[in-house]
Symmetry: C2
Subunit: 333 residues, 2 copies
């Protein structure tokens, strides 16, 4: 049986990426910088209005495992597509990287999920997601052998949106812990935290989750505060192992008990598209952590991967990250 | 009734673009720099082996009309997709630019065509095309009103590959000429010229085609020569109106009777992906020509559009070409 560094579980989504101006976001009432869930009718409306796009596999946890493998790690993925052309694209892209992906696709309706990613001239992305086949993910999709053999099982807070995925996560977390493995979560999005605050805190306090990834807005939302220190102290108290808070151009902070380990961001000369920044930070951190590196080195690796991805279109690295100078420097430094 | 600057007719294809090294092309016996037609089985095999990809609407004539509209022109397109997800992507992308596209999609099998574009580190692209629904394009798909109202009807030599598209072209050319319009053709690919040399020469010599676009390799292939002057003289003799030969980093030559108008290429600092270079040259030239500009200015506009497209991934401009400095300079200069 293979051993995996990281298994990620998430909404399996194809991104439809187009450029637009701020006026378009306003006219179409798209919330800038956020992720909004939309139904099939709204998806059709918005797609009909938006400009020409490129398609690429996405999904937060899918991007994270793609980045992990691109950094030399060994990864597996669980997520639900439908048996359609977009589902075939998603499956091809993740498998072609060497990621183990065997989740049974849904037969027929609803189709594979898609996220319309609108990128404004400032590089900010605003996401409208039609969950499609993701609503069918359930405990029956959890492959116990893979969970048992993965050092870390990592999942998205976004999985609290579809109806039965949370049951899948609770089942997976039990298998992981029964096998001496760790469980990690990303809070995904501050609006997602507003939707599921109590449940996310329970996951941490009850020890279902060992490691929590959040950006600053998500951490503040989790503790309903505007004071970052309050949020960091909350994360320190509630984390079974530790938490990592990313802060865009301010870098990140690892929070473990009384320790606060801050790492600066890289200077990115030209931000093209911020899609995938948080996802790729997690790739880098998890790669370092599963190699047994210090939190500081792991965070540097996260910062390097995130810095790279915002300099290109789309959330998946277009070429291997392993050879990049900033990645090599992070391994050393 | 709207008047169109250019109607383009071509194989309606979604590009699946991935990076690879030269060893992969050799191992999979993909002909470097060319376009090879493949069947469904070979498409499945190759897709299964190639790396993660991005998807974008493509097809030579589709790219040309996208570029034309991006330069401020008024365009229409005829091409055959299937009623599937990739077909919906193709239709969305071209319509969202403002291109008139009303060709009836095929119901059911075969699916929308796709072209696997493998980009090597030198920026060269090697294409493997599964024609899918394109094989169903026929004379019944020609909208006579649109042809009659387009200053130029432009088509791909690639249309000689599917069985009935050439009938559609002959029908469209007759409508165009009956309405005092012009017909243009691109020779598409030197291997395509080898397949249909006699027919392409007949199209020119019988006056079905007024204007011919070719790159150097295609022009040489058409006259089975290694001497460019022989090819240029052949084009001059056989063209009802004129011909344009593109020469990559050597720019291009417009050939009209005894005249030879050479225009240099732009220096492109970093060639990312040569996909679409010829298609976008045609966009620029046709935009200039339908504005009534000189051949030289039209060629400069073609060179500017081509130079821009090889600096990005994919064959369709990711943002409007009209505002680019090199495009503005070509309009002036």
């Amino acid at each position: 049986m293979a051993e995996y560094d990281v298994l990620t579980i998430g909404n399996a989504i194809v991104d439809i990426i187009a450029r637009c101006d701020d006026a378009f976001l306003q006219a179409e009432e798209v919330q800038k910088g956020g992720m909004t869930l939309i139904d099939a009718g709204r998806a059709e409306h918005l797609y009909g209005r938006m400009g020409p796009a490129i398609e690429t596999s996405g999904g937060s946890a899918g991007n994270t495992v793609a980045g992990l493998v691109s950094l030399g790690g060994n990864g597996a993925y669980i997520g639900k597509v439908s048996n359609d052309q977009l589902g075939a694209i998603f499956a091809h892209d993740i498998r072609s990287l060497g990621v183990k992906f065997e989740t049974q696709p849904l037969e027929g309706f609803p189709p594979t999920a898609r996220c319309m990613v609108l990128v404004t001239p400032d590089g900010e992305r605003s996401m409208s997601t039609y969950l499609g086949a993701c609503v069918e993910l359930g405990p029956e999709d959890i492959d116990a052998e893979i969970v048992a053999s993965a050092k870390i099982t990592y999942f998205e807070g976004y999985l609290w949106d579809p109806p039965r995925a949370k049951e899948a996560i609770v089942a997976a977390a039990k298998i992981a812990h029964d096998n001496g493995r760790k469980v990690a979560m990303t809070l995904s999005d501050s609006f997602c935290v507003h939707r599921y605050r109590a449940e996310f805190l329970d996951l941490m306090r009850q020890g279902t989750v060992d490691i929590t990834f959040a950006n600053e807005a998500e951490a503040l939302a989790l503790y309903e505060t505007e004071d970052l220190d309050v949020a960091l102290n909350g994360l320190a108290a509630d984390s079974k192992a530790f938490a990592i808070v990313t802060r865009s151009e301010k870098g990140c902070v690892v929070v473990e008990g009384d320790k606060r380990i801050a790492v600066p961001a890289l200077t990115v000369p030209h931000v093209v598209d911020t899609t995938g920044a948080g996802d790729l930070f997690a790739s880098g951190f998890l790669r370092g952590h599963t190699l047994g590196l210090s939190h500081e080195k792991s965070a540097r690796l996260g910062v390097a991967a995130a810095g790279h991805i915002i300099g290109q279109i789309g959330p998946r690295p277009q070429s291997p990250l392993e050879g990049l100078a900033e990645v090599k420097a992070a391994f050393v430094g």
